[in-house]
Symmetry: C2
Subunit: 219 residues, 2 copies
DNA sequence: TTTAATTTTTAGGTAAATCTAAAAATTTGT
DNA sequence: ACAAATTTTTAGATTTACCTAAAAATTAAA
């Protein structure tokens, strides 16, 4: 399995949540920052290798083995991210690109031992679940901050956007995993919200609120 | 710099010790387990990039930047090997292939922090020196076991062959870094040696003795 | 030193992964 | 439903890193 093939599997895996019938060529092209024609070629190859199902113009759907492989890559990615933060003093906005490289390293023992060293973590530094060795992914119950209403509160358990610019924006407002966020007010017309985090109040746009996951808290 | 280019630089670096004028195409081909024609192509490309000097039929010699880059890759390789042994419970015969993959990961901070995590080690699990951040390689004073005479003794400080079969052979005889080895006898006709290691005596072939480095000890 | 053996290079080809441009299929809008 | 817009695929090129086979240069040997 080549590096490029693994990246395509990961892209299809991530997009499958939003496309129930089959992931469109263009969606994959956008996710991979490449051209639709390149995707067409690669998807055809992956279908020949039985890693996904594909009928012309119908989009792609991972096969069981394709999904298993995608999950393995994601497990590696998230374990490496955790390692970088927990053991090498990286912050959550610095780890993505490096994990993107490390996730392709091949060694069963390496990843098993890394998991052990880290104490078998359940989530990565962005709150995303780390698949276990059997490929089970345990999703935490969570809602988008943008869906919360005035007066509600929750604990930050994840983000939807792991770009360093967004994560640095969160840092600036002291939003991190485990923080309690209270919705003090919500604007009808633009979806912006007035929040309280660690005694401080400030407002964030709907776009930002759309990329933060909270676990509901009874007040 | 591609993965393949880095591997060529490393090969030329390692071979330069044995070929003062220039490393022959065939030597590189053997080291890389590839064909001379492929080497010819690649060497030409690396010369265009000023990473090495090359005149037709004259072999290859690393430029300053080529050597600097090769040393960086070797630094990464040896730090990763140390990490695998020190932190992830690998034995010295299991680390080479994985480090071969990890050495190509690009991140200054990653390697800096890894170095720190490991306590700035001076040698890797095979006794090879780990180049520092500035690219200085401090070689330990050492001699091949095969050059020792009857009655001499030394401390094992390195190996010349990091293949798992050789390292497992050493394990079987309890030879590891730091062990004291005494030459009890030496055969003239085949160079084989009778050794004493940790109270036990046994004999090894000249081939084996040619792959073990000792630091001389006054008895 | 002239031939033979070896080494190295060149020429031409393949496979992976990409691209652009054009053709084909599908979806949408009126 | 049919033309227009969009999406997807195909066709043809490019680059990297290999390969085989043949030609050229160097080295060794008689």
């Amino acid at each position: 399995m080549t590096l490029s093939e693994e990246n395509y599997l990961k892209a299809v895996y991530n997009l499958q949540k939003h496309y129930k019938k089959g992931v469109p060529t263009n969606a994959i092209a956008e996710e991979m920052a490449t051209k639709a024609s390149s995707v067409s070629d690669m998807i055809k190859r992956l279908a020949e290798k039985k890693l996904l199902f594909y009928k012309k113009y119908q989009g792609a759907k991972l096969s069981e083995s394709g999904e298993a492989h995608a999950i393995k890559v994601i497990r590696k990615h998230r374990l490496w991210e955790t390692f970088l933060v927990e053991k090498l003093n990286f912050s959550w906005d610095e780890v993505h690109d490096i994990a993107e490289q490390l996730e392709h390293i091949e060694s069963e023992k390496l990843i098993k031992e890394l998991d052990k060293l880290l104490g078998y973590p359940k989530v990565d530094p962005h709150g995303d679940p780390i698949p276990d060795e059997q490929g089970n992914v345990i999703a935490v119950e969570k809602r988008l901050l943008s869906e919360f209403n005035k007066g509600e509160q929750g604990i930050c358990v994840g983000v939807n956007d792991s770009s360093s610019s967004f994560l640095q924006y969160l840092d600036k407002h002291q939003i991190s995993l485990g923080k309690i966020i209270v919705v003090k007010d919500k604007e009808e017309f633009d979806g912006s919200m007035q929040l309280q985090v660690s005694e401080k109040q400030f407002s964030i746009s709907q776009l930002a609120a759309n990329n933060i996951y909270l676990k509901s808290l009874k007040e």
